[in-house]
Symmetry: C2
Subunit: 577 residues, 2 copies
């Protein structure tokens, strides 16, 4: 039994998770932390769930599958290779093995255990409160294992109070018998059977939002805005979609892909209507690896200078994916538009996500950019080789490489060309940068241009702030990116607060000059000067136009807390020798 | 007698200056400070020059001219209006009036005066040494006038030890009878008649270099590299060509425009040969206002952190002109090339300037940029409406808007397309940026990309460092610019070293988004906090991609001292109330 996950919209209630070719389905809850844990649990009988206890897996798909989904699998395998993510596939393999494991008696733990709710488990998130996790329906107290965890205490603590499965999905190494044996030693209870189903919240416009990965740090639940821990973000050149930062302005719309229709208003009042199938059949498919970043990424550093209005993003409102779809310019040409290098018009996008008044999310980009053969603007229906997840715009979104996330309109419904920028609030009265002296009494949104291309930035993803690093030698990791296709050409790292600098090693996809849409991950291993007890680790990047990051946050402070791209500092303690 | 200046090449010796339709010519010297003064002096008889004493002039060309140069004059008038430079035209008018003045007895000062050499005059450049200037062949001691100068002491001191004419050419207000009457009161001598001719330096490869404006601060005489004082630079949106920074790598070549031939190597070995007339007749003329900046601009700030190798540029290795010529893409298309947005080839340029081994200056730009309808790359034969001056590439140069000066190859001789960047030293082994930790023992030029687009920068042109400003209110002026067509969208100015910021007013030509090739001049008038005795004035600019300048120079220090674009500081004293 193959285990491919897909989302299917329910007309009447919460989202359904469908397990591969199996008919097993399960109603899931929509809170961020609890829902994911349920995804791996096939419903084999009404009201009772079989514990999901993984067995040994090699983490790859078998070529001998006889289901009808082999082409999907081949694609997934290719994408997995591209991702460097054996783990993502391993998660799939792991699910598949689960079904076989159900009849495997040696994996079943017997005996009377106390029953807990997820909420009760969730209260155990630190060594002081004891650290509990769940796996299947079993509950474990792993406090005494924290310092024994080969991946480090900080990584295992990401799962504290919640389910292990989403993390094991990312780290395939856990899918081994001895790991499960080890875990069994820490079992303290089981989840209450009622925990495995959840009622729908009928009146909540966000009730239909999709499940999310519990590793995400949630900045706002409704609308959902969340980012992964820096340590996880920095591990993948292509961010696994479940970890890709989520930046929603409104509830995630339910879109039936079969009924989906993109409206493109052409010149002279003619409107082109394109189904998803039209888009996929009539236009050639293209793929682009592009990093998206929210204008508010790293806002928390700015709000430490002076309060700002906005979601308190850390360093991870930035992620990278390989997007697949059709060129926007091909669609616009089909609608009757020709390239006009001197045009000062705009291409406006409207999403299918709406507020209670029916106002949709919207944004625009310059017409010349939309039509440029070098700007690579996509109407994307794939992310890392699979259909767009709902949180990322299923079934179709705009991907404007090198341009602030806010213009990459998700759940795309309508495109038109205008002499003016999009009338949307988010184009005209938000996502603009101001001088540090401008406050809410003096701000005039007409005086600043909309943020489109973003400035050069970088951040340290590992070690995390406050960590203790070994003496002798330290390894620092991070990301670096710049807007407008201006690839990062160098990352300087300092261990002494910016007094001396060393050049980091960079890795990333080779992209043509001027079209470097993806970030670089970087790494520096350097000796820790003997006798040092603390390090103020700093990074700064240089892009292809030799623009650099500003030294400090204060002078770029702005009332909305956008464009926070100063040097990134991480202060750590050096362990005594 | 009309007075249009033109340069005519001498086959055998130094440069000749030709005065309008008149046959009067004069051999001139080639040192930076002394040559300009001679330009206005017609040689009416061998070995003897008539003093050039201006009379009242209205500073405009007469429409009743009967010479064959009226179309040139119309163009010059139009350009003058464009420049906001009555002064430039006034200088011409002034020259014209000179001839009439020769017979005007009331302008002649009689009496026996001591004779001086220019060198002797040049020793009088400060109040301590007394401040002398020349006008025509007369010598004046203006020390006692310094504080009476309506334009301020600092401006008149620019002419100390040299000739007034080049400055009066820029400031037409001086061309009035009462100014000359006033000057006459300070007369202390006359120039020795031998000073008005100069021998040719036969063996000097730089002997044929053109005359330059004495206001320029000379960083290197051979090759000639010089910049205007910041105060003068900041006064003109279009920099008068005589003040436009000069950045020569080699002697200025003598090019006969009638014999000039541009070689364009097309695909398949076909070479296009284009005379200047071919270029002007076969391709449409286009004009672009673009700022050029040397990669080494503001290097002196970097060398104050740690020594660097390179010319010690102040803040003025940046200037703006309106360039006229033909699109490079039109010429390349004529040579057989088609647009290829995905091409990773390069268009290589070679100048006619050569070193003693015959190696020419060279550089390259990406092919896609050369062919882009939005990149506006020009082969320019005009600068501010007149033929290119010799120092700026006569008769033809490349103008690559938004790209470092070094790629704007002057005296263009040859163009070809290559899979590789230009093999030139200046493309491959210079004009690259490195980390502050890289020194001459560790530098590897293959590890850094060639500087092409430049980062955002700004500087304060007025007040100058060390000035005393009035209490009450201060006016700060400067320029701001960014590469890649990313126009400056805001300039922040601080009077307190960067603690608080105010937004400056900007002025400049309206250019389309993404094609903002010209700088912005900016100004801020702000109260000086009572009791303040010193100001640390700072400016920083933000460009259309919201890139900003780094706070400090140290962390962007590099061994070649390029890309010095940190905040600019000017410290001044506040006068007691």
């Amino acid at each position: 039994m193959g285990g491919a996950y897909g989302l299917r919209r329910s007309e009447t209630g919460p989202c359904l998770l469908q397990l591969g070719g199996a008919a097993a389905m399960l109603l899931i809850r929509t809170t961020a932390r609890s829902c994911w844990a349920l995804q791996g649990v096939p419903r084999v009988a009404a009201g009772a769930c079989t514990p999901w206890i993984p067995t040994h897996t090699h983490g790859t798909w078998s070529g001998s599958s006889h289901s009808g989904r082999s082409s999907w699998r081949r694609r997934a395998t290719a994408v997995g290779a591209l991702l460097g993510l054996g783990s993502a596939l391993a998660y799939g393999g792991h699910c598949r093995q689960t079904a076989q494991a159900e009849s495997s008696p040696q994996d079943t733990v017997l005996g009377p255990f106390p029953l807990y709710t997820r909420e009760e488990v969730g209260r155990h998130r630190s060594p002081e409160q004891r650290v509990w996790v769940t796996h299947g329906r079993e509950v474990f107290d792993i406090t005494d294992f924290l310092d024994l965890h080969p991946g480090g205490r900080s990584k295992i603590l990401l799962a504290a109070g919640g389910a292990l499965e989403p993390f094991w999905a990312l780290y395939a190494v856990h899918n081994q018998a001895h790991v499960r044996d080890l875990l069994r030693e820490y079992k303290v209870g089981e989840l209450h059977p009622e925990e495995l189903t959840a009622p729908a919240a009928a009146d909540d416009p966000y009730a239909g939002d999709p499940p999310r990965h519990p590793a995400l740090h949630v900045n706002s639940l409704k609308p959902f805005n969340a980012e992964p821990p820096g340590e996880l973000l920095g591990e993948h050149f292509l961010t696994p979609p479940e970890l890709f930062f989520k930046r929603n302005h409104l509830p995630v719309p339910h879109v039936d892909p079969d009924a989906y229709c993109l409206k493109v208003e052409g010149p002279g009042g003619r409107t082109l209507s394109l189904s998803l199938q039209d888009l996929q059949r009539r236009f050639p498919k293209h793929e682009v690896t592009a990093t998206l970043q929210c204008a508010g990424n790293r806002r928390s550093e700015m709000s430490r200078v002076r309060p700002v209005r906005g979601l308190d993003w850390g360093i991870s409102a930035i992620s990278t994916a390989r997007w697949g779809g059709v060129w926007l310019r091909d669609v616009l040409a089909d609608a009757g538009f020709a390239e006009e290098p001197e045009s000062q018009r705009h291409v406006c996008f409207e999403g299918l996500d709406q507020d209670l008044t029916g106002t949709a999310y919207g944004a625009s980009i310059p017409f010349y950019q939309a039509m440029s053969a070098r700007a690579d603007v996509l109407l994307a229906y794939e992310m890392n080789g699979a259909a767009l997840p709902r949180d990322h715009g299923f079934p179709l979104r705009v991907v404007v490489p090198g341009t602030v996330g806010a213009r990459n309109v998700k759940w795309l419904g309508r495109i038109w060309v205008s002499a003016e920028e999009s009338p949307s609030h988010w184009q005209r009265n938000d996502y603009k940068g101001f001088s540090p002296g401008v406050d809410w009494d003096t701000v005039d949104y007409t005086t600043a241009p909309a943020i489109q291309e973003l400035p050069v930035t970088s951040a340290i993803t590992d070690p995390p702030p406050g960590a203790t690093v070994a003496s002798g030698e330290v390894t620092v990791k991070g990301y670096a990116w710049s807007g407008g296709g201006r690839g990062v050409v160098r990352v300087d790292v300092s261990l002494d607060g910016g007094h001396t600098w060393q050049v980091a090693e960079m890795q990333g996809e080779q992209q043509p000059p001027g079209q470097v849409w993806a970030w670089k991950l970087w790494q520096l291993t350097a000796p820790v000067p003997p006798g040092t007890t603390e390090l103020d680790i700093v990074c700064k990047a240089v892009d292809a136009s030799y623009n650099v990051q500003p030294d400090t946050v204060g002078p770029i402070w702005n009332l909305r807390g956008v464009l926070s791209h100063a040097w990134h500092h991480v202060r750590v303690t050096v362990a005594e020798e």
